[in-house]
C-alpha cells in the first residue's frame, strides 16, 4: 500500500458510496489504461468524503498524496495525462493534497481519526495491508504481555463507552461478563446498523474489517470467550463479503483459530446475517435472532452478561466500539482519554447526511459542538437555505434546533436537550424540512418495526402515527398536540425495550422546539415548509412554461395537459401532489403554495 519502491500508486475508493457513485467504472478504466505500466492501481475503502465520490488518490513516491473528487471518465483521462504521466497536478479538481490544501478547505480539518484510522487508506481485502499499518500488533501485545484483567483495566481506564447508542462503559461490561458464572462465554459484534441515516458501521466493515476482528479477539481473550458472532445487516452485502474475506485471511495467518500466536487462547468468529428487523439492534432481540427465533426482546435483568446467547454470559458490543480497541491497547488508555470530555472520552464517528455540504463520515473528539460539526467539518448546508436543526440518533433520537447548536456533542449534553448520541447519525435539515412530516416519518418507521410484543409500543406508536397523519392531512384537532405528548410519556415509561422507550422522542422534540409548525398545520391548515401533500398545491407559472412537455411524461395520473410549446395546466382533481413535475422542470415553471 505504500509506494516505497518509488512507484506511483493510485487508489480508488470502493466502499458502497464509491461504487454507488460509479467508482467501479473508474477503477476498471484505470486498470485497463495503466495495467501494463509499473503504476499500481489499488482498491481502498471509504475515506469518508462520500459527497465527492468517486474519489481517486494519486500517491507519488515519498508518500505525497493527492485526492481528486467527483472523478468522471473524462476527468480521469486528463488526470492520467497531466498528473500521472507528466507530474502536473490539476489544482482545480483537487480535494485534498499534502502540503497544498489550506486548512479551511481541507475536508479533514477538525477531525481526529482513531476508528477510521485505516479507512480509505488500506485495501480492505488484504490482511497484509492491515498488518503493514500495525494490524494485529495489539492482539499480540495483549496475548503476550497483558493479563486478562490488565486488558479490562486498560479499557475501563480509557473511558470508552459503547458506541451503539446506550453508552454503557465497555470495560465494565467486559468485567461483568468475565466474572459471570457459566461457560462457554460469547462475544457478539452488533453490526445490525438499523438506524436510517447511520452508516459508520457499514463503512468500517467495508473499509477496515480486520480492526473489528482484532477488537473482538482482544475482547474474547479478556472475557475468556472462545467464540464470537458478528450479526450483520443483510442490506450490507459488500460488508458481509469483505468480512468473509477478512475472516478467511485471519484464519490463514492464524490470528483466528487454536492457540493463537502460541498462547493458550483459542477463538473462532462466525457471521450471522440479519434478516431485516430494526428491533434486532436491541441486544436481547439480537440474541433471539441468532438463536433462530423471532427477534423479540425480553425484559432485563438478567442482562446478557449473565445470561445471553444460549443462556451463557455474553458481551455484545458495537462495530465502532470494537474498532477502537486495538488503538487503545497500542497507544494506551491515557492517550485515548486525552480526547473528549470528562464523561465522554475519545472520539465519535458521525454520519453527516441530509442537507449538508460535505456529507459523509467524520470522526471528531467528543465534546465538539453541533455548530462546529455542521459548519466547520461539514461545510454548512448544501442548499442556500438556513440551517434549521439536526436529528441526532435516528428514530430513537431527537431533533436539536439551530438555536441550541452550541450544545457539545457528548452523551450527557445531548440527553439534556432531549436527543441521544445513538449510533451517531447526524441528519442536517434546512428550512425546507417540515418537522411534523419528520416526526411522522420516524413514527411510521418505529410503528412498522415494533415487534408487537408489548402493548404500549405496538398500539401506542400506531395511535401516535394516526394523530400525526391527520395533522399532516389538515385534519388535526385542537388538542392533538397535548394528546401526542400524553401518549408519548406513557409509551416511554411502559415499553419493554429501547425501541418503544425511545420511539416518541422525535415527536416530543419536534413539539418542544417547533410547536408553531404543529399549530400551523392544525389551526391554519398550512404546512410552512410546503411538504405535506394534502396542504399544498402545484401550479404552472404560465409566463415561464415553454411547453416542453417533460412534466407530462413524468405525471403518472395524467393531470398535466397542454399543447407543445404552449403553457401547460395542472388538473387539481387528478394531481396527487407527488411533486415530480417540479423536480424535473428545467425552467422553474412549477410553483408550490
Amino acid at each position: 500500500m505504500k509506494s516505497g519502491n518509488g512507484n506511483v500508486v493510485i487508489k480508488v475508493g470502493l466502499g458502497s458510496c464509491g461504487v454507488a457513485a460509479g467508482g467501479r467504472g473508474i477503477f476498471d478504466a484505470l486498470v485497463t489504461k495503466l495495467g501494463n505500466s509499473n503504476i499500481s492501481v489499488q482498491r481502498t475503502g471509504c475515506l469518508g468524503m462520500c459527497y465527492k465520490e468517486p474519489l481517486v488518490e494519486v500517491m507519488l513516491p515519498e508518500n505525497r498524496r493527492y485526492v481528486y473528487g467527483d472523478v468522471t471518465l473524462d476527468k480521469l483521462d486528463r488526470i492520467i495525462d497531466e498528473h500521472i504521466i507528466n507530474g502536473q497536478p490539476i489544482a482545480e479538481w483537487l480535494l485534498l493534497a499534502d502540503g497544498i490544501t489550506a486548512e479551511e478547505t481541507n475536508p479533514l480539518s477538525g477531525q481526529q481519526r482513531i476508528v477510521l484510522r485505516n479507512c480509505g487508506i488500506i485495501d480492505p481485502e488484504s490482511i497484509d495491508d492491515y498488518i503493514g499499518v500495525g494490524g494485529y500488533k495489539a492482539l499480540e501485545k495483549a496475548l503476550k504481555s497483558m493479563s486478562q484483567e490488565q486488558v479490562i483495566d486498560e479499557i475501563i481506564a480509557s473511558g470508552l463507552r459503547g458506541r451503539g447508542g446506550a453508552g454503557f462503559a465497555t470495560g465494565i461490561k467486559w468485567r461483568f461478563t468475565r466474572e459471570a458464572k457459566g461457560s462457554p462465554k460469547y462475544i457478539i459484534c452488533n453490526a445490525d446498523e438499523g438506524d436510517p441515516g447511520a452508516f459508520m458501521d457499514r463503512s468500517v466493515l467495508e473499509s477496515d474489517p480486520h480492526s473489528v476482528l482484532e477488537g473482538m479477539l482482544i475482547a474474547g481473550y479478556a472475557i475468556g470467550a472462545s467464540e464470537g458472532y458478528i450479526y450483520v445487516r443483510a442490506e450490507y452485502p459488500m460488508a458481509v463479503r469483505r468480512l468473509r474475506i477478512a475472516i478467511r485471511e485471519a484464519k490463514e495467518k492464524e490470528f483466528i483459530g487454536e492457540k493463537i500466536l502460541g498462547s493458550n487462547f483459542s477463538f473462532d468468529i462466525k457471521i450471522r446475517e440479519g434478516a431485516g428487523a430494526f428491533v434486532c439492534g436491541e441486544e436481547t432481540a439480537l440474541i433471539m435472532s441468532i438463536e433462530g427465533k423471532r427477534g423479540m426482546p425480553r425484559s432485563r435483568p438478567p442482562f446478557p452478561a449473565q445470561a445471553g446467547l444460549w443462556g451463557r454470559p455474553t458481551s455484545i458490543n458495537n462495530v465502532e466500539t470494537f474498532a477502537n480497541i486495538a488503538w487503545i491497547i497500542n497507544n494506551g488508555a491515557k492517550a485515548y482519554s486525552n480526547y473528549g470530555t470528562e464523561k465522554s472520552k475519545g472520539t465519535k464517528v458521525f454520519a453527516l447526511a441530509g442537507k449538508v455540504a460535505r456529507g459523509g463520515l467524520v470522526e471528531v473528539p467528543m465534546g465538539m459542538t453541533i455548530r462546529d460539526i455542521v459548519f466547520t467539518v461539514g461545510g454548512g448546508t448544501s442548499s442556500n437555505l438556513t440551517f434549521k436543526a439536526v436529528q441526532m440518533g435516528g428514530p430513537s433520537g431527537g431533533c436539536v434546533p439551530a438555536s441550541l447548536a452550541d450544545t457539545p456533542v457528548d452523551y450527557d449534553s445531548l440527553t439534556n436537550v432531549g436527543a441521544i448520541m445513538g449510533s451517531g447519525g447526524m441528519l442536517v435539515m434546512d428550512e425546507s424540512t417540515c418537522m411534523v412530516d419528520l416526526a411522522k416519518f420516524f413514527l411510521n418507521f418505529t410503528q412498522d418495526e415494533s415487534c408487537g410484543k408489548c402493548v404500549p409500543c405496538r398500539i401506542g406508536t400506531k395511535r401516535m402515527l394516526e394523530i400525526l397523519e391527520r395533522i399532516t392531512q389538515g385534519k388535526g384537532r385542537e388538542d392533538d398536540v397535548e394528546l401526542l405528548e400524553e401518549l408519548a410519556v406513557s409509551i416511554k415509561r411502559a415499553s419493554l425495550c429501547g425501541l418503544g422507550q425511545t420511539a416518541p422522542n422525535p415527536a416530543l422534540t419536534t413539539i418542544k422546539y417547533f410547536r408553531n409548525e404543529y399549530e400551523a398545520h392544525i389551526a391554519e391548515k398550512k404546512c410552512p415548509a410546503k411538504k405535506c401533500q394534502a396542504l399544498i398545491i402545484y401550479n404552472v407559472i404560465a409566463e415561464k412554461c415553454n411547453g416542453c412537455r417533460l412534466c407530462q411524461r413524468f405525471c403518472s395520473t395524467g393531470a398535466i395537459t397542454g399543447k407543445k410549446k404552449q403553457p401547460h395546466t395542472i388538473d387539481q382533481k387528478k394531481c396527487i401532489r407527488c411533486g415530480l413535475c417540479m423536480n424535473v422542470c428545467k425552467f422553474d415553471s412549477i410553483s408550490v403554495d
Partner: protein
Amino acid sequence: MATEVQIRKTPSLVVIDDIIHKHNSERGAVIPILQEIQNMYGYIPPAAIDRVAKITGITNGEIYGTATFYNMFRLEPLGKNLVKVCHGTACHLAGAERIAEAIFIEVRAREGETSADRKFTVEQVACLGCCSSAPALMLNEEVVGRLTPESVRKVLRKCKCDDGDGE
C-alpha cells in the same frame, strides 16, 4: 452493471435438503437455512418450509413465524430484477417518494409489487446506509445513488435492454 440475482426456477427437494443438512449441525440455523433457500429461489417456497420443519424437528408454525417476522423473507416469487428503494431519513428528505413514483411510471409496479412482465420486483427498504448518495436504490446487489426522477428511469430502462428480448 449490477449482477442479476441468479434464480433457479422450480424448487427441488434435493437442493433444499442439501441446504438444510449443511447448516443443521449448527444451533439456531433456521435463519441461515431460510436465507440460503431464498438466495436459491428468490423466495421461500411453501414446500421448503414443510421440508425444513420435517428435517429440523422445529414446527411449521415456528418456522413460518420466523419467516414472516423478518422483512427480508419473501413468500412470493421474485421478478427478474430486484429494486430496493431506500426510504431512509436522508433519502426521504431528498425525495425518495418521487423516485418511487418515477419507478412506477417506468415499470408500472409500486413498492411491494412485481411488474406484469415479471422483470422487476420493487421493494421499500429502511436504509441502505448510502445516505450521502441520497436518494438511492439497490438494483440487485449494487447501490445506485444521487438519483433524479429522470436518471432512475434511465437506469431501469438500461436494465430492461440488458436483459434482452429473448428472456
